[in-house]
């Protein structure tokens, strides 16, 4: 729906201050970036600091670690399947490498494992490519311009954004592998936005010291995903993709090495035993858990499954005490609620302004700081813009982009968002967008090394399901980079491992599930919950009260 009259009146205040803001921007005068102390003070308004929002884990390898209730609920939960009912003696499928997850990390892993000579099975919960990768808009970081940038500056930016607690080796790998990943994408036929002579267009993101955000209009993730998915489909002789078949449990062998997974065909409700010489866990994130009831930008299947499975098998978790809230999610119109408005809008110069039309923060602070500043503006300061749906937001002043870069820039650089708003009767080249922070990214996850390996032999981790490289807060553009850097490395390492050591697999076992279940029972926790979740449940409570099938849990009957 178009903006109602009350909001149109408030937009006049944004228009009133715009000429002056544009003039300042053109002169290079910015609202100063916060000092580290100011950042710390602002972060007091971030959802992460709410102690009542989390609790200490009572079971598993990271027992005692405090994280969100929504995470703890799924880590402290019963398995979907009784191990005693599963016949492991005759696997339904055998493969060299099993990749769990069909997003960017999983697909990159599949391609690189295949290049080592491995037969690969990709098991994915929805369709191949239904993943947060597809939804990433703004860009992919990586230094490509030697006259002003190098991995050194990228490293500093990543550490600063992550509060200096990131795992140094992982950061080093991320920034040094980045140029190679960009070249790989270019070679595979991804259409980066370029100057006519082939130079890559780049811009800033929050917390970058150099313009190193590479992009493909405002659908960078989709362009990456469809390119590498197409390549995986060309290698169908070696890469098999099983859709609507999520893994629900890892399978180990009798020596504790990873040996496959139990898959669940969501349509026929059968369970399948896959024996694999190596496994890459690439299930992505967890926005659909709606931590602290926040709206989310994430796709339908982002439900924490991989962390649950690997945690049960003995892999510790880290950095899960922080969650990324993207500063700019749609808060009105209601139909688009939670949808991501790419940081590229701010990278290219759009200000954030409050109900008075005043700028209250530099638009290129790191995401956690930016999100906290918006929450503070709407709560403590009471300067949020009230929506007709009873919420608050602030303006993202997209029309000023036209003043800064010329008429038509908004439609050209942001075709996806332009058409989205057009459907609701809003022209974002003329009217600003109303936004509020939205649950966006799982900063932490499973512990892993630079080659994707974990403390379980034969189990590799890639992408959002892992934790460490982004510390306590990820910068824009480092997630698309992360999934490809570590997806490729994990895939290659898994392929090599499968070839070299795969023959020594012992008897398949789900004993780790029995042990974990026993620990739950002894701790008297989680008996009324089942995980992994697989899909979120949006059924109304009223409707639910009439769905009388016993033990109805998600798609499980």
């Amino acid at each position: 729906m178009p903006y109602p009259q009350a909001l149109k009146e408030l937009i006049k205040k944004v228009e009133a201050t715009r000429p002056e803001r544009v003039a300042r921007k053109k002169k290079g005068e910015e609202v100063p970036f916060m000092s580290l102390d100011e950042r710390a003070a602002t972060l007091q308004f971030h959802p992460d600091v709410k102690e009542e929002g989390r609790r200490a884990l009572l079971v598993g390898p990271s027992k005692g670690y405090r994280l969100a209730h929504e995470y703890a609920d799924l880590l402290e939960a019963m398995p979907r399947v009784d191990p005693d009912k599963v016949d492991l003696s005759t696997p339904h499928i055998e493969t060299d490498v099993l990749v769990i997850g069909g997003g960017g990390a999983g697909t990159a892993a599949a391609l690189l494992a295949q290049e080592q000579g491995a037969k690969v099975l990709v098991a994915t919960k929805l369709r191949h490519g239904d993943a947060n990768t597809m939804m990433a808009e703004g860009g992919i970081q990586g230094c490509s311009k030697g006259h002003k940038d190098s991995p050194y500056y990228h490293y500093l930016d990543v550490m600063g954004g992550g509060h200096f607690v990131n795992v140094p080796e992982l950061v080093e790998t991320l920034v040094t592998e980045a140029p190679d990943v960009l070249q790989w994408l270019e070679h595979l036929g991804m259409n980066f936005s370029k100057f006519p002579d082939g130079r890559l267009k780049t811009m800033h993101g929050g917390g970058t010291s150099r313009k190193r955000m590479h992009y493909a209009a405002d659908i960078t993730g989709a362009e990456i995903m469809r390119t590498i998915r197409d390549e995986a489909r060309n290698r169908a002789a070696d890469i098999t993709v099983l859709e609507f078949s999520p893994a629900v449990e890892l399978i180990l062998d009798d020596q504790g090495k990873c040996a496959g997974a139990l898959l669940y065909n969501m349509e026929t409700e059968e369970y399948l035993v896959v024996r694999a010489k190596a496994v890459v866990m690439a299930t992505g994130g967890s926005g659909r858990l709606h931590v602290q009831s926040f709206m989310t930008t994430n796709h339908y299947g982002a439900t924490f499954d991989g962390v649950v499975m690997a945690y049960r098998a003995g892999v510790p978790v880290c950095f899960l005490h922080t969650i990324q809230y993207h500063p700019t999610g749609v808060v009105f119109p209601e139909q688009a609620e939670g949808i991501l408005i790419t940081e590229k809008f701010r990278g290219i110069g759009a200000n954030l302004v409050n109900v008075e039309g005043n700028q209250f923060v530099n638009e290129r602070e790191p995401r956690d700081v930016e999100a906290a500043a918006i929450i503070k503006e709407c709560t403590k300061k009471g300067l949020g813009v009230p929506t007709p749906t009873g919420r608050f937001g602030v303006w993202l002043d997209s029309p000023m982009i036209e003043d800064l870069h010329g008429p038509g820039t908004v439609e050209k650089e942001f075709p996806g968002k332009h058409i989205l708003y057009e459907r609701f009767g809003i022209d974002i080249s003329k009217e600003p967008m109303l936004i509020y922070p939205t649950l966006h990214y799982q900063n932490g996850g499973l512990e892993y090394q630079s080659d994707g390996s974990t403390r379980i032999a034969g189990l590799y981790v890639a992408g959002e399901v892992g934790g460490g490289v982004h510390g306590e807060n990820r910068l824009m553009g480092n997630s698309l980079l992360d999934i490809l850097v570590f997806g490729r490395l994990a895939g290659a390492a898994a392929g090599v491992y499968a070839k070299a050591k795969g023959a020594s697999l012992g008897k398949l076992s789900l004993d780790h599930v029995r042990v974990f279940t026993k620990e739950l029972q002894e701790s008297k926790v989680g008996a009324d919950r089942v995980s992994p979740l697989l899909l979120p449940d949006y059924t109304l409570l009223d409707t639910k009260s009439r769905q009388l099938t016993s033990h109805y849990v998600g798609s499980l009957r």
């Binding site: 729906m1 921007k25 970036f33 703890a72 609920d73 369709r127 490519g129 597809m134 311009k145 030697g146 006259h147 002003k148 190098s150 991995p151 050194y152 500056y153 500093l156 550490m159 600063g160 080093e172 140029p179 270019e186 595979l188 036929g189 259409n191 370029k194 082939g198 130079r199 780049t202 313009k211 209009a217 659908i219 989709a222 469809r226 390119t227 197409d230 489909r233 060309n234 169908a236 969501m266 659909r288 931590v291 602290q292 009831s293 709206m295 299947g301 139909q335 290129r364 749906t389 009873g390 075709p415 058409i419 989205l420 919950r529 949006y538 059924t539 109304l540 409707t543 769905q547 798609s555």
Partner: protein, 258 residues
């Protein structure tokens, strides 16, 4: 399933309740709030999606939906996650439609139009009926990009097909029975990887990284304690920030670690 913070209806319906209207899902009537998208309305009615739901943000192509309105003979189309319900609409999702995709060896495929013609000879069965363009939920001019491919103009075809989300609705309507979106994907890859000029600055950077040019600087950073890192991070000299409105040619004053 009990959770401490239940996932539930507040995620579907905003606090302000709106008017209810009837919609017909595959012929069956449900009364739903008129402010909801088709996807949320179906969930409101009690559906739980396995297929027909993906990103919920209008980019993945999982939820292509066709519908008719009362007193209107036309077939309308939209993404269930993006389209608001209308009173009396009759709808069904088309979450999947069979489509032919030709496997091709990307490395060996030459950047010529004939390679695409050979992989997809059905291109020339196009009768220019424009049904593909009419059904596209993303307003992609499908017939026009098919014409561009037939002319061998891959740059134009890439530009015109760029917003394609590969939902497959075009293929469902095609009289020539081709899968336009797979053909466009092949064309975009050939254009992006084999025709568009390469980024020479990127190739130089890759070589420099491989030659170990940045190793020492990174070693220093890896060994640095948090206080040193913080000092470097905030320093206007050690970490000079490129101005937002600068041109691509901008160079920093301190080039010690370039």
């Amino acid at each position: 399933m009990s959770t401490t913070a239940p996932i539930g209806e507040d995620k579907i319906v905003a606090k302000v309740t709106s008017k209810h209207v009837p919609i017909y899902v595959m012929g069956k009537r449900y009364d739903v709030p008129d402010s909801l998208t088709i996807m949320k309305a179906m969930e409101y009615a009690g559906y739980k999606f396995i297929r027909g739901c993906g990103c919920r943000g209008g980019i993945c192509g999982a939820c292509g939906t066709v519908y008719k309105k009362p007193d209107d003979y036309k077939i309308h189309v939209g993404l269930a996650c993006q389209t608001v319900v209308q009173e009396g609409m009759h709808l069904t999702q088309i979450p999947f439609y069979p489509a032919t995709r030709t496997v091709f060896d990307y490395e060996q495929t030459p950047a010529v139009a004939e390679a695409v013609f050979k992989a997809y000879p059905e291109l020339f069965r196009c009768v220019a009926c424009n049904a593909c363009t009419k059904i596209c939920p993303m307003d992609v001019p499908v017939m026009d990009y098919v014409a561009a491919i037939k002319r061998g103009d891959f740059e134009k075809a890439t530009e015109l097909s760029f917003d394609c989300i590969q939902c497959g609705l075009c293929a469902s309507r095609c009289m020539a029975e081709m899968a336009q979106y797979h053909i466009a994907q092949m064309v975009r890859r050939i254009y992006g990887g084999k025709i568009k000029p390469k980024a020479t600055h990127l190739a130089v950077m890759v070589d420099n990284v491989k030659a170990g040019k940045f190793k020492d600087g990174l070693e220093q950073l890896k060994k640095a304690d948090v206080a040193t890192l913080k000092q470097l991070y905030m320093s206007k000299d050690a970490r000079e920030i490129e101005p937002n409105m600068s041109e691509d040619e901008w160079v920093p004053t301190n080039n010690a670690y370039l």
